[in-house]
Symmetry: C2
Subunit: 127 residues, 2 copies
Amino acid sequence: MSDDPAFDVFARGCASRVTLEHITGRWGGLTLSALYEGSFRFNELRRRVDGVSEKMLAQTLHALERDGLVHREAQPVNPPRVDYRLTPLGRDVAERLVGLIALVEGRMPEVVAAREAYDSERAAVTG
Amino acid sequence: MSDDPAFDVFARGCASRVTLEHITGRWGGLTLSALYEGSFRFNELRRRVDGVSEKMLAQTLHALERDGLVHREAQPVNPPRVDYRLTPLGRDVAERLVGLIALVEGRMPEVVAAREAYDSERAAVTG
DNA sequence: CAGTATCCTGCAGGATACTG
DNA sequence: CAGTATCCTGCAGGATACTG
């Protein structure tokens, strides 16, 4: 469709688009960002990522582990102890994600102002 | 819950988390990345963002416009002509997004290798 | 603790038809 | 062309109970 080498991310079924969805998905980005701050156990992560269910955290961690972004280390003790941390690749990805989050957070005043302008303009038309 | 100023992104209901979801959502990221390459009309965008429906593209563009990331310019001609392009803020955000995509694309060999390792390990246990 | 298994529901999002 | 309106469905993802 295009000779631009980056264009194929827009295609459905593109392998990198799947990975991107794991990274930027509802829980993926939050989980990677949380792990950017250190190594955490399953329930520690659950507490850090507000609103995530057991099921979704497990599913998210599996996907990220499979993609080579997260390393899972299970110690054979009782009760079990499992630690999750970023791989080098995961760290590089998380770094960009954290940068994006910081950018958005820093510019929320602009976003809020834009919303107010947008809403008041619509209100003027409708009302 | 934490004194880390960046920690509140993890909280549900946090305003920046909503914007982040628009940016990284299923169609938001793809749309911003497409617009990073220039200005496009509605149906041009539809063709560029493979798989997006009219409804979802309209909805995505509304959200991004409201957040001040995309500028919509409607010319009062018949048939109508509407062009979408990034605002300065949208450009800054899209730049990071494109960087993230490039990073992931460039390191897909690692991802693929990790998947194979993960799958063969599981197959060894199950089979 | 670190998960898995099951059941269930809301809503994201697709398909289709229509409009200024 | 650039959308909106309606209807409908699959599945993301929550709640709950259970397990090694």
